[in-house]
Amino acid sequence: MAAGPMKMRATALGGVTDIRVLMAHPMETGQRKGPDGKIVPPHFIQNLTVKVNGATVVEAQISQAVSRNPVFSFRVKGGTKGDKVEVSWYDNQGEANRTEATVA
C-alpha cells in the first residue's frame, strides 16, 4: 500500500483549537514478512510538522511504531474561525504530503 491522502479537522472550542489529522500511510515496520516470505522493507513517516497561520506549533519525529494510517490530535491555545492549519509529513522513502484546513 502506498501513502495516500490526508484528512484534517480543526475546531475552535473554549479558547482552544483542537486539530485532528489522519494520514493514509502503511507505516511498515520492516519486521513483517509479506506473502512471498520476504521481509517487507520499512516504510514509515519520520517527520511531522503542524503550522497555524504559517507559524510552526508542533514539530515531531516519529518511528515505525506509530499505527498504520496514523491519526494525531493536537491542541493549540487560542485560534479563531478562519485560521489556517497546515500539516505536512516526510517519510523514510522520501515521500511527502501536506494538507490544509480552516479552523471551524
Binding site: T29, R32, E59, S67, S73, V76, K77
Partner: protein
C-alpha cells in the same frame, strides 16, 4: 551486440543513481531524524539518544490509555502535561524492538498535549518523558496486550 548491452546497463545505473540522489535530498533538507535514538534497542539507550539523563516521576504528566489492549497494532494513547513550560513530549514503549515511538516539540501556542495510536508488540510499560525548563519528567503506564502489534 555485447557492447550495446554494456552501455544500456551503464545508462540504467546512471538513472538509478540520479533517482536515489533525488530521493535523499528532501530528507537532508529537513530537521534530521534522530537515527541514534530511534535505532536504540533498549529504553535506556533511546533516552540517552534524546538527551535524557535522569527524569523525575511526575503526577502532572498524565497518560490516558487502556489497561488492556485487545489489538496491539492500534493502541490509543493520550498524553497531557500540566507541568509549566513543557516544551516536548517523548513516547517510549519499553518492550518494543525499538522503544522510541516519537518525540513532539511544542512551540508557539501549542499545548503540551498529543493523542496518537501506537503499536505495542507485547505487554509493556509505556513511558512518557516531558521536558520543561531544562528538566525531564517521566510517567509510566503498563498496558497488557492480548494480540501483538507486529504480525500485521
Amino acid at each position: 551486440m555485447d557492447n550495446e548491452r554494456r552501455s544500456l546497463l551503464k545508462a540504467a545505473g546512471a538513472v538509478t543513481a540520479v533517482l536515489v540522489a533525488g530521493l535523499l535530498k528532501p530528507l537532508t533538507a529537513l530537521a534530521a531524524w534522530n537515527k541514534e535514538a530511534f535505532g536504540a534497542k533498549t529504553p535506556a539507550a533511546a533516552m540517552k539518544g534524546i538527551g535524557v539523563a535522569d527524569a523525575a516521576p511526575s503526577k502532572d504528566l498524565v497518560i490516558d490509555a487502556p489497561e488492556i489492549a485487545e489489538n496491539g497494532a492500534v493502541v490509543p494513547i493520550e498524553i497531557a502535561s500540566a507541568i509549566a513550560g513543557t516544551r516536548s513530549i517523548a513516547v517510549l514503549v519499553d518492550k518494543n524492538p525499538f522503544p522510541l515511538v516519537g518525540r513532539f516539540d511544542f512551540s508557539g501556542g501549542a499545548l503540551p498535549f498529543v493523542k496518537l495510536n501506537v503499536k505495542i508488540g507485547e505487554t509493556s510499560d509505556v513511558r512518557v518523558i516531558a521536558e520543561a525548563g531544562g528538566k525531564h519528567y517521566v510517567a509510566t503506564k503498563n498496558i497488557k496486550v492480548t494480540i501483538g502489534g507486529c504480525g500485521g
